[in-house]
Symmetry: C2
Subunit: 410 residues, 2 copies
């Protein structure tokens, strides 16, 4: 199940970025049920700038540890495997991640620290590193600029569909392309939880500026989506600028082209993030929770997350039940000090359901029902305390959510 309208469009090649994929049976299904790519390689032109943001989970996975270490160096390739997270695997896990980098470096003719490893899948199982390294040459053979869709498919785990988006813009008379792919279908929440995102542009952007663009864009996109409130050990979102378009380097926020490229990259990240929510495990609804009139951004976010994480709100959304009492209860326990409940307004789409803390006189169950029956729903909350506004995106909890998460390992 997944919310309609978020299907992957055609993905445009980006000059200076080749992609490859192969099947290595990382999950170790015997006999392998489905032969589906589970190893993906991204190869960048030498001199590409690479930026990254990573999980804040105290138990970060071995590959994340290496990526953090290698960030800022002359990275030329990403090796991504699905089926095993190589997380909570101790020293052995770190050794496995290093072996992966070494094997890829040998093929690419670069140093191991020029390869960044990424893993997604079950936590705590040893990575079958020899199956991975054995498969790497095959992945390398498939490298092509036209392989974005295959790569998008290869990084999937419980995702029901690949996720990606492309955008073009003109900078200095040259066409610049941005293409990104993402994966993640549950365990999604602020701080990049359980998702991988790879966005590549052929613009030329200096690394420090690229990192700043990514950090801000991630904060408005991947850090504002939540499915079940869990953050994973492996989340990573990478932004690469290959310079393949041949346009002049953008190195500072004072560059006239900075706002244009930053905005376009942010939009790509938002679309990738929304696609993750729309394909959340068992999702039937795509829900925006917009909190206005907070005293601070922090309290607006607190309220938005309290509503977004409430299993009672999420099951009501699944049931298409305009049970606004559950929304109001979640606002009430969000922990906003001194919140005056008698001033709070709540809207379901355009329909006001709560006026001054009680059911709006104009509200009818029919009007609420009409909004709830839609696939995309916006819940707007006015706190009457200030002007801070925040939006987070989430999905509902369905029977299928329980099924998927109860059966993921079997």
């Amino acid at each position: 199940m997944a919310v309609a309208g978020f299907e992957i469009p055609a993905l445009l090649p980006v000059k200076g970025c080749q992609l490859g994929a192969t099947f290595a049976d990382i999950k170790g299904v015997k006999p392998a049920k489905v032969v589906r790519d589970d190893v993906v390689v991204l190869r960048f032109a030498p001199g590409s700038s690479v930026a990254g943001v990573f999980t804040k989970n105290a138990f970060c996975a071995a590959p994340v540890t290496l990526c953090r270490e290698y960030l800022g160096g002359a990275v030329e390739a990403f090796v991504i495997n699905a089926g095993n997270a190589n997380a909570c695997t101790g020293d052995q896990g770190l050794s496995h991640a290093k072996q992966t980098c070494q094997a890829a470096a040998d093929i690419a003719g670069v140093k191991p620290h020029q390869i960044m490893p990424f893993s997604t899948g079950v936590i705590g199982e040893p990575l079958p590193v020899s199956r991975l390294t054995t498969a790497l040459p095959k992945a390398w053979e498939t490298l092509s600029e036209d392989n974005w869709l295959r790569a998008a498919r290869g990084i999937m785990t419980t995702d029901t569909r690949p996720k990606g988006v492309s955008k073009t813009l003109i900078i200095d008379g040259k066409t610049v392309t941005i293409t990104g792919i993402s994966k993640g279908a549950g365990m999604i929440k602020p701080n990049m939880a359980t998702m991988l995102g790879y966005v590549v542009t052929d613009a030329t952007i200096a690394q420090p500026l690229l990192q700043s663009i990514l950090s801000r864009a991630a904060d408005k996109s991947f850090n504002r989506i939540t499915v079940d409130g869990d953050t994973s050990t492996n989340d990573s979102c990478m932004l690469v600028a290959t310079g393949g378009s041949g346009c002049a380097e953008i190195a500072s926020e004072d560059d006239a082209n900075y706002p244009v490229i930053a905005q376009a990259i942010t939009e790509v990240l938002m679309q990738l993030a929304h696609a993750i929510v729309a394909d959340a495990e068992g999702a039937t609804k795509f829900v925006a929770i917009n909190v206005q009139q907070g005293e601070t951004s922090k309290e607006s976010l607190r309220v938005a997350y309290a509503v977004a994480h409430s299993p009672l709100v999420k099951t009501a959304l699944f049931a298409c039940d305009p049970n606004w009492g559950r929304i109001v209860a979640a606002i009430g326990y969000a922990g906003v000090q001194g919140l005056d409940a008698s001033k709070v307004n709540v809207f379901l789409g355009d329909v006001q359901i709560v006026a001054n803390g009680a059911r709006a006189a104009s509200y009818t169950e029919e009007a609420g029902q009409k909004v709830m029956d839609q696939d995309r729903i916006t819940i707007t909350i006015e706190l009457a305390r200030g002007s801070a506004e925040e939006t987070v995106w989430t999905s509902d909890f369905s029977h299928e959510y329980v099924t998927i998460n109860a059966e993921y390992r079997s």
Copy 2:
């Protein structure tokens, strides 16, 4: 569905407390599907001490507002209705709660502020107050000291079974009885979320001391259980001492009888709280999460709640899947500053699953599975930071949880 082994035992009468119940069709089902008591009255001997703790939700319900106001006065009766929460009902809701008190006061021959009202059920619908007040005389006619089980049943909403416990002890050569009942089956969490608890003893205890006993006992029981992380607008837990046993008044912590009665009351509250978890919506597991070696109680609690609230852990529990990676991920994002993941240990029952942040060498899937197959599971987490220990109790997320919460209003 409910975890076995928590069935209600025989409940002992408490001198000075009479209970009555009747059906008032508060929910307004037409035609009423099941004629089940939904109005309950507790009547106390004049001079009883009454203590209470209430929800911290900013949207507290009208009856909670009145209870807070009346606390400390000469309260002589409780009127409880199921089927409608009278929450987020604005001035009309407050007026309905006051009408309820007035009607009960007229019957009992006392003042309205000597009656405390309680409501549980759907939020935001007007309380059908005339059906309630019309039914009150009938409830009064049934008043009897032997009516505890009927009262326990009358306060149920989505509960699958009534909850109660009795305990006796000897004070000054006299037998003292403590009997309590509770309700709540979902939306349960710290700060008394969506539950009602009524504990009555025939000991004689001064009100300020009674309040202090209740606050501490609630903190170790009702404030340490969580099902879905939502706190309700109506949660209330009341403790009444009627003095009916004729034993000497206990008025200070220096009284030799204080620790004895305080301990017994705490045990009653813990049993009532655990019964709520074991009957949580769709629960198949009763899970204790014990966090040891925290630097502070606060951080131990944070970790315990992060694990207890993780939908991924909860669905794994339902699936009897020893997916310790999900437990570790939840510990990692609990927000403990400077947590050294490489020192953390985790046990499932007696089986060590994580040693120093990675899978324990001795761990086998079979051993983990054996623990997960049990109805009652303890997860022990050692943080290696200090000596603060906290335990919270929770349940799993099943298909039935989604079904119940998606269909509660229909």
